[in-house]
């Protein structure tokens, strides 16, 4: 069930696109994800009902965007860049370190729900490659040690 607040925010998004509910799908999904971290099937049905769309129509949009999460994610979402600059200067070493030291697998969430690791295309931070996006924050010039220090601050 969506909260009153979520409904209100979705209505505002619809108003912002002059009532063309279909044009507000992505924003509506973001409203849900902001609070819940991801969009469950039930949430998706609720969003669809709010917008006068079918679940299939909403899910077609939701699954197209790789940052709308349709599966449960951990408390922190780590998007590691696997595009060319990062790949050249150490993406693999980072990935290996995340696996060995932190138990992170691409596409998976740790058992304690702390981290979810996902690949991402170029973050536009090539000059500081390798780079990642952690909970929306950009981090560049990563080394295993720097990675450890950053992750340690994310409980």
């Amino acid at each position: 069930m969506l909260t009153e607040q979520e409904r209100h925010e979705i209505d505002e998004e619809v108003a912002a696109v002059r009532g063309h509910a279909r044009a507000a799908v992505v924003e509506a999904l973001k409203v849900v994800q902001r609070r819940r971290g991801w969009v469950s099937d039930d949430d998706l049905r609720d969003v669809a009902a709010c917008l006068g769309m079918t679940p299939a129509e909403v899910d077609a949009v939701a699954t197209f965007y790789n940052k709308i999460f349709r599966r449960r994610v951990g408390r922190h979402v780590l998007l590691i860049c696997d595009s060319v600059s990062c790949w050249i200067v150490g993406y693999h070493a980072l990935l290996e370190h995340l696996r060995a030291r932190w138990g992170l697998e691409l596409g998976a969430t740790t058992a304690d729900d702390r981290f979810t690791l996902l690949p991402v295309a170029c973050l536009g931070l090539c000059e500081q490659a390798p780079a990642m996006l952690l909970d929306g924050e950009l981090y560049g010039n990563l080394t295993p040690a720097r990675l450890d220090a950053i992750l340690a601050t994310h409980e």
Partner: protein, 881 residues
Amino acid sequence: MPAIIIDGKEYRYEGEGRNLLEVCLSLGFAVPYFCWHPAMHAVGACRQCAVKVFTDETDTRGKIVMSCMTAAADGMRVAIHDPEVADFRARVIEWLMVNHPHDCAVCDEGGECHLQDMTVMTGHVSRRYRFDKRTYRNQELGPFVHHEMNRCIQCYRCVRFYRDYAGGRDLEVFGAHDHVYFGRFADGVLESPFSGNLVEVCPTGVFTDKVFKEQYARKWDLATAPSVCTLCGHGCNILPGARDGTLRRVRNRYHHAVNGYFICDRGRYGFQFVNSEFRVRTPLLRDGGTLRAASADEALARVRTVLAEGTVAGIGSPRASVEANYALRALVGAERFCHGLPEKEFTLLEALVALMRSARTPFPTLPEVERADAVIILGEDLANTAPRLELALRQAARIVPDELEAAALGVLPFDDAALRAATQGGTHPLFLAVTGATSLDAMATARCRAVPDELARLALAVAHRLDPSAPAVTDLGADAAALADRIADALRTAKRPLLICGASAGSPALIAAAGQLLRALDTAGTAPMLRVVAPACDSMGVALLGGISLEEAARADTLIILDSEQLSAAQVAGATHIICLDSLLTEIGERAEVVLPAATFAESGGTLVNSDGLAQRFFQVFVPEGDIRESWRWIAEILGQPWANLDALLAEIAAELPVFAPMREAAPPADYRLDGQKIPRQSPRCSGRTAMTAHVSVHEPVPPDDPDSPLAFSMEGASGQPPAPLVPRFWAPGWNSVQAVNTFQEEVGGPLREGVLCRVIVPAGSAPPAAPVPPAFVPREDALLILPAYHLFGSEPLSLLTPGIAALAPAPYLALHPADAARLGVTVGSMVTVTLGETALTLPVVPREDVPRGAGLLSVGLVETPDALPAWGAVRGGAHA
């Protein structure tokens, strides 16, 4: 005529604003493609249709373009066989095949697969990809469509058909890049009444026919013949396929003017009654209390005796061919022949014929319906009464810029995605004057939901606004008057207005009002198109044949009945002797004196007159087991063989009843030969010919003779392309899938070669019948006006014998407005008793906002209604089931 240079040679081609792919295919070049579809046009998704174009004769390099996304132009230089572009096409198919399984042998699509054909065409013969293939979980999509997502090549045709073309909202594409998935949000029955077309639209084996899967045969092993759907009045052309004495499937048979590339799910899946366990396969004779199997001679002898006693009437059927009905008429005499309908229902058909004859503009073909730019629908819930027409109206409602408008918008006239983006879902005026909610509501400009008399008043009010000399409706409510203004304005300013009216609402007043409206539109100078909806596959045939009413016929001592499943036992309760010509053992058959086993549409040939007044011939597909014969042949036996074959019967009909004379042109006669030979129903690859009956005898049986048509029950015969009415299958060298239809058309998307449109009802501009303004509807305290509600799955009795259709049919119900429910003190799901005449029906109640006040919608076909609807019915709550 413009010309184009392909591989150095010049060709003339037809048509402006066409894409290069269509032009190349029309000229007979094999350019491979996937995503382009002649009815849905181009999106450039698959990159398979690449060709090279050159700027001028000095250009030796050229550039690779997608032929489906490139406009053909006069003088254009094109290369198809250039090595570079040929290699490009081979690489495209190679990557489309990267994830495709390597198991055609166990795939239902195998042997009629567009992907197989294209792979062969491009010469991609060995795989270099050595990694894991991407795999998916398949979905359970209901009784009709089987899903195997691993076979997908991401051409997007399925969603473009289901969602964009047919308006379905439960099939989508999910995901992105190399993880796209075509399916539903969750497992469940596909909601669209056109879901079965996915089977033909998908170029691979992702969507296949689930009913066929249960009784599978390869395409080349099926015997097929041109046929016509008998499950509503639209008369879609179909290709039924049989093997081993059973009917296995039905596919669309392209007819550019009637059904194009698509049919509805009732038509595709409703054929299973042909294989029913309730089939009568030998003559049955009453002996004492029970029916027993008898020889044909014994049964015919009894028939002759019975017919000699007392008064006799013959009851024909709007679901039987013109030939069968005529033969019965010949047997009992014109004065003793009944058209099979109660007086009220027949009056409606007569009114429809009069309406059609009053038209001055030629009746629109399907593509003309699709191009209408303003539509008014009177009293028809098309998705449930003429489904194929509903699909056409979805196209009419959508604004599709013509060539000039597209040029002004800067988009190509065949670029589907760009056109849709440019028009932003804009619709033409579509007005619904109906008795309840319909599938077109969401597309409608405005709608009026009311009882038929009120709809007639609205139509008359519109007519008066268009032509002040038409009678005025003086006491119209303010809302209705405003709506009438709106409709009149929209129709007056339209270039191609279309009026749709039919018999479904059961109202002669509405049909008469449609006549006034049509004439008024004409007077206003709009050249209105008319499309009529009749209930059954040969309603118009019996309307032209005429006869006495069912009520009158039922008074005879002896009745000989064609297709008794359309009658209720009560309707013929008075007769002493009953003779049935039935394909299924019915309630009436159970108490008959003699039942003669009649052939179904798939086992016989004949002519049907569809809603549009088109006479269409259907041909026998296979020879059934048992002593099953065409109804008209049984009658010929009784009469002592007056007709040697179908053509002789047709000749007599034409001579007796000139209105049917054009009918003989519907297909070439039985002595027609193609290259001196008959046209085989089986493909030359048909397997098992010598083995199939070897357990009975090792001698190969002589193929049965077909005296009635130029088709043969054989794999031998002419191999060329026959004229359109005789095309038994779509196949051409290199084109094993249904896409072979391209090679049968005059040009891609156009009529089949040597096609015919054989009209027996034509617009004659005769005076429309008078239409007195009905008085305003006054609801009654003690009763509701019971109106018929139709269901694609449920209102047609034969198709209900298909298990999947029975499973999807609703339970019988009475729907009424919540205010009426409250007034009558009934709640959701509680039972009410509706008393119609002498009969009391007990039904669950469904309160629905869309039901007009003072009326009730009764699901027809699911309950036996004693009298034609609408009728006043006393409704009492608190009944128990």
